[in-house]
Amino acid sequence: MIQDHFLTLVLFSVLVALFFATLYHRDRRSFLLSVAKTLAWMVAGSVALAFVMLWTGR
């Protein structure tokens, strides 16, 4: 179940990262950099938030 949640999160992050990189970046290097940065922030941020909720929840 946790795996499903994580895979859904990764799929969502990939789609959003690709969308914004395609919308705002023209050259390959800045495109890939944008995808990597957005993906890293979204996945890491969501996992961090999930852990905060886990630790502070009852």
């Binding site: 499903d4 859904t8 789609l15």
Partner: protein
């Protein structure tokens, strides 16, 4: 760079995306980008349906669902077709599904992405963006 379109034509071109995601960019000659946008938005929308997300009607009694509907309407013809074909039903069984929230997020995001595409196409058409 091509000659900027007059405003009325730019509005008309940007609205093409409501028929098919990315169609405005295709019409403006950005064919590779149009194909990428089409793929991304359609995969996001279909993932939402596959994850048992709901297509909210604009007449929903819940204001939060109505707000979600405003975002989903951004998918234009595809939202209307999916709703007419009975996809994304909003029922108690669907709402109890563990993936319901994720599905909704995907569907709302697909609609918002498509709205952004309309605005981006408008900017390209009037010459504000390449």
């Amino acid at each position: 760079m091509a000659e900027p379109f007059p405003r009325w034509k730019a509005y008309a071109v940007s609205l093409l995306t409501l028929a098919v995601p990315g169609l405005s960019h295709w019409f403006l000659g950005k064919k590779a980008r149009a194909a990428a946008f089409f793929g991304i938005v359609i995969v996001t929308f279909l993932s939402g349906l596959a994850l048992h997300g709901a297509l909210f009607p604009l007449t929903s009694p819940n204001w939060l669902f109505r707000l979600g509907a405003v975002a989903q309407v951004g998918m234009g013809a595809i939202y209307a077709a999916a709703l007419a074909l009975g996809f994304g039903k909003l029922g108690l069984l669907e709402m109890a599904d563990a993936m319901f929230g994720y599905g909704n997020t995907f569907l709302v995001t697909a609609g918002l992405m498509n709205m952004l595409l309309c605005m981006d196409a408008f900017d390209i058409a009037v010459g504000r963006k390449e």
